[in-house]
């Protein structure tokens, strides 16, 4: 029996994925209402294929707020997402409280795995604390790297590239229940010491940030010199040193919260140990700069031409297939547009606190009604299916700012729009 403790995004996905492999799962959260909701198969997170996976696995999983049920498990994951504050600093208090609350209910020799996002040093310290308070129970403490991606969480959970496991002694075999679960997924297992595993997670994210920063830096040069970043990307991806899956799409800075948290963790570590992490400052600065690309384009192409323009914004989530708006470039843009009339639309996100001049439309086309410009801030798939002739008929102006190229550039040109996207020469 496998237990999952903390049913935020990570816990929900991970517990259902384990159940889908045929394991009996106890999914625990102190929030009884949430557990009842999940028992009714009402998912509080938006992920492709998750409802189907839950339906398929429902016989294997029990959602409960009864902490004593964890005593039946020989393998328990702490799977709560660690919250971050406005400065992307982790708040680990939640994690400490959760472990302290459930530890007394675990059976002796339970394998306790930290799946939550923790900084290097956390697991060893926690293991020492548990040894002190729960020594007689001989809990076995492990750390496992999560690499969940919002919007692709099910795919990542079912088909992981590898498992990175932080161990008290990497030379020893993994405990049987943990090995049995992870082996089911048919990918390499990489046991290593706690600190290496904790830093491996951060290292992965730093590589992603580096790639995105390269893409953003060079895409901006493309916009000025007549080059086309989308033509360059395939050349890079065919280079084995860079790779077919590398993060080379330009974007509006780093968002979502996870990468930002790890950037801050590296800065904190470098500050504490006196190592050189100035490149991280450069990545953060570049991210903030690129986040405002749309605002700069709006001012140079619209505000300079039209007094008091009305702006249509498609997309509020930080990326498609999620309802998360953590550090969303769209919300950052809206904050800078409070002086203007804005009509926004998102397939999933509903804004509760709206500035006075912001209205949220029921449909994408309704947001365009009478607007001087259309801005596509989240490349939801439904946007690319919208008939541009209808957009043309509805929009008052003839400018589309589409940073992620959600729409077809050629069709936008043919429809008579001035069209602006990242990494491409402006088409006026």
């Amino acid at each position: 029996m496998i237990g999952f403790v903390g049913l935020s995004h990570l816990g929900i996905i991970s517990s259902i994925a384990a159940a889908s492999k045929g394991f009996q799962v106890i999914a625990y959260d102190a929030n009884a209402a949430l557990c009842e909701q999940l028992s009714r198969r009402e998912l509080p997170v938006l992920e492709p294929d998750l409802p189907e996976l839950l339906e398929k696995s429902q016989a294997q999983i029990v959602f409960t707020s009864d902490v004593t049920k964890l005593g039946q498990c020989n393998l328990v994951y702490i799977s709560v997402d660690v919250p971050t504050d406005a400065n992307n600093q982790s708040n680990l208090t939640v994690l400490h409280q959760l472990v302290a609350a459930i530890a007394p209910h675990l059976a002796p020799e339970t394998v306790l795995v930290i799946l939550s996002q923790v900084p290097p040093g956390f697991t060893r310290t926690l293991a020492a604390q548990l040894q002190e308070t729960q020594g007689d129970r001989r809990l076995q403490i492990y750390y496992q790297v999560e690499t969940l991606i919002f919007g692709r969480a099910v795919e990542r959970a079912l088909y992981p590239e590898r498992y990175i496991v932080g161990c008290p002694n990497p030379a020893q075999p993994l405990p049987q229940p943990l090995h049995e679960l992870l082996s089911t997924f048919g990918c390499p297992l990489l046991p290593m010491r706690y600190e290496s595993a904790e830093l491996a997670k951060i290292s992965i994210n730093m590589c992603l940030v580096a790639s995105v920063s390269v893409a953003n830096t060079l895409a901006e040069i493309c916009e000025s010199i007549g080059a086309e970043w989308s033509e360059i990307v395939p050349a890079l991806k065919l280079d084995k040193r860079i790779g077919a899956y590398s993060y080379l799409s330009p974007g509006l800075g780093i968002s979502g919260g996870n990468l930002e948290r790890d950037l801050i963790t590296v800065k904190n570590l470098a500050h504490e140990w006196g190592t050189d992490a100035r490149v991280v400052d450069a990545w953060i600065a570049n991210s903030r700069y690129r986040r405002d690309w749309v605002l700069r384009t709006l001012h140079s192409e619209v505000m300079s031409q039209v007094q008091n323009p009305r702006i249509a914004v498609w997309g509020l989530a930080y990326k498609p297939n999620t309802h998360s708006t953590k550090n969303s470039p769209s919300l950052a843009l809206l904050e800078a547009l409070t002086a203007f009339s804005v009509q926004a639309y998102d397939p999933q996100v509903v804004l509760n606190d709206r500035p006075a001049r912001l209205t949220q439309s029921e449909t994408a086309l309704a947001a365009c009604q009478g607007s001087d410009v259309l801005v596509v801030m989240t490349p939801w798939a439904e946007f690319s299916a919208i008939d541009l002739s209808q957009v043309k008929a509805t929009l008052k102006g003839a400018t589309i700012i589409d940073p992620f190229a959600a729409l077809d550039a050629q069709k936008c040109r043919e429809a008579g729009f001035s069209y602006f996207r990242l990494g491409s020469t402006p088409e006026r």
Binding site: Y289, D292, L295, H299, A336
Partner: protein, 300 residues
Amino acid sequence: MIHHHHPSPVNPDRVVVLGGSGFVGRYLLSHLKTLEIPVVSFTSGELDLCQPESVENLKQTLQPTDSLVVISALTPDRGRDIRTLMRNLSMIEHTCAALTEGACAQVVYISSDAVYADEANPVKETSCCDPSGFHGVMHLARERMLLQTTKAAKIPLLILRPSLLYGPGDTHNGYGPNRFLRTAEKDRKITLFGNGEEKRDHIYIEDVAQIIGLGLLHGSEGVLNVATGTAVSFFEAAQTIVDLWKGQAEVQIECLPRSNPITHRHFDITETYKAFPTFQYQSIASGLQKTFALIEKGNG
């Protein structure tokens, strides 16, 4: 980088201007007049900030509801030496001595983009301040003096860092649009170093006055660059002026051998978009056109 104490604009009760007779000062006074804001302006003859007596005079002038705009400075054409630097610092030392708690409601200091490191590019308000000349050192030191003083006195401080200014009535003759306009009129010739490749962000003087005005109306606090966000080469600026003279006179562009490497300076003005979303800078073409029109009328 800045925040507004008045999210909706409110006219200050009165604005006290130190340095009202200079290039920026004259345009500011004119702009404040159109806004119908009462103004008290001092020239260096009326209030010599280099003298310790100025402290008491300024104290007696300032009212708690006043906004104080500090433009006074000995510009580089008055000296680039240590003595000029120290006199400039002395002026702010005396200004700071008058800024006790409750002395006024806001201080606006007109600094310069010379405070930034030469290699900062694109320049934004968070760029590294590492001035290479005494002019930049002077402004940075003055900013810090005012920052410490106003913080202790609980007075909001707005620091504005303009890029290169141009426009009718500029008394300075530095390399750039103003000099180009003058030599085009006088000698029918514009002289460039190299091919004038260096890109700079030139700001029209009326825009500077308007940004100061917005900072006063909003009771703004913090640091903001004053630049258009569009850098053009000296050659492009010269060519625009040549085009303006077309039909009246033929102006030649002369290129001299370059003695210094090519450097560029661009600005990221996102913070201005956020601070004053409805404000729009004039393009250099528009600003030069206006300046040229006044030259034609004999007012340039």
